[in-house]
Symmetry: C2
Subunit: 315 residues, 2 copies
Amino acid sequence: MRLAIVGAGDVGRSVADLAGEYGHEVVAIADSSGASVDADGIDVEGALERKAGGESVGTADPATLFETDYDVLVEATPTTLGDAEPGFTHVERALETDHHVVLANKGPVAERYEELRALEADSAGSIRFEATVGGAIPVLSTIEDCTPQAVTAARGVLNGTANFILTRMAAEGLDYEHVLAEAQDLGVAEADPTFDVDGTDAALKFVILANVLADGGFSLEDATVEGIQDIPGSALELAAEDGRTIRLIGEASRDGVRVGPRLVPENGALAVTGTRNIVQLETKHAGSLHNSGRGAGGPETATAVLSDVGRLPEL
Amino acid sequence: MRLAIVGAGDVGRSVADLAGEYGHEVVAIADSSGASVDADGIDVEGALERKAGGESVGTADPATLFETDYDVLVEATPTTLGDAEPGFTHVERALETDHHVVLANKGPVAERYEELRALEADSAGSIRFEATVGGAIPVLSTIEDCTPQAVTAARGVLNGTANFILTRMAAEGLDYEHVLAEAQDLGVAEADPTFDVDGTDAALKFVILANVLADGGFSLEDATVEGIQDIPGSALELAAEDGRTIRLIGEASRDGVRVGPRLVPENGALAVTGTRNIVQLETKHAGSLHNSGRGAGGPETATAVLSDVGRLPEL
């Protein structure tokens, strides 16, 4: 398939880098200031070098990305809430011109799900969004294969930054501020870590899961969300005396979405460590299925995008 | 899709039972003595009641299954080694007449993989076999989505009977013979438990994994296999003093297949309990992906068969 990648952050760049290995061709990549576009396949290495050097990926007008001949739009611009723009309009444009869309951007899928499905229904193209939930972990394709009706709930840890912080607080007896600074030094937490530590990032993912299970009906404002910023080190010590620890756990079902810190058994499945994520799917006929792995990272998330591309039908 | 199910054991019956829920129709089901065949869809409930009452699923000649109009042959007869008959011939017949095949029977996939792929290449039909490895756990579709080339190895616990026995031996300090008898009473081990306890069943699954990773080249005789029958209770006690336990672990890579009892950390991912299974996939770009869940059971394995049916292209 020919990929047009909008967004040249970690994920967009990794998709461009790995596309060839999966048998696909990159015909365009754009960031906010420029684009590299070539119907015969762009020079990926050159584009990535320019970006690494602090420039834009290319000198063309970003708008020309939509005018090129492509099969799949890869939407990898930063997640935005509410109207989910400019990502939503990118998706809309691609679907209205009968292209496929694969999203890594959570915004449109969490906040305007029914509108996306309506656009898809009127298009020859399909939308897929494995990369929006759990990075490399194939959560959505597992639900799709079971059929959503056979899955009653999804629960787990879907934010690696918060999980890393809680793991380190418990392991070292350090307080939140101290471990957050450590996480930022390591690049595990961003300079502005708000969405990770206040539960918003995890909530967006569980909203997406609820939308998949219920075929729509949820957006971020429907979720009950509590973050990890107020957890004192003493809470983790107390938990440990009881063979427990604390993790930021989310739950999604057709009834709603909740994210918040929970006590979990210290050695149980939900007590994943470091930046690892886990999703437990409760199913009607197959008991509980657990998927764990790396929930974030450029290459990790790119593998989810490229898995989705591999599951698209020929246009 | 219209399903013709050959084999009316736990898996075949569960596939018939759940097919409607997944949007498919059962046009035939056969056991060794009879068949129920109806191009407009059989009376599934009636066939299952007859079987439950000790009779055959139907009064038609089992051979008539292949003469009916169907889309997918579901091969759910008992696993046989070596020439993998009669399962292999069932698959061959379906592919030669341009039908799809979904296998729950491990024999043909472990023992005659390259021949299956050659038959598939000459057919309008495709073969899928998720149900042969890890029951409800979507191992093979995860590898398929990552692309097999991106997966370097698969490791884990793929036999629930052996895992149950080791879990109970460790938990209760009982010896092997005692726990095996308990497992048989519970229906977790068969009257003849040989393939489960000597590692053959697990080895077949890891041979299938190696065939998928390497696109053929392996059969059961290539695997190095050791079972659990000789593990004394004292070995588990000794392991526990060191924070470890023993599990029947298999490993598959392009270099080969090994199955045998291994010491694993007591609280680690590989120390799944009871009849649960786990597969860890090592990937090039996405680190380690863990999938765990119920590895056996009629409904559980049927969900894997029906997931496969859902991924088949229209004929």
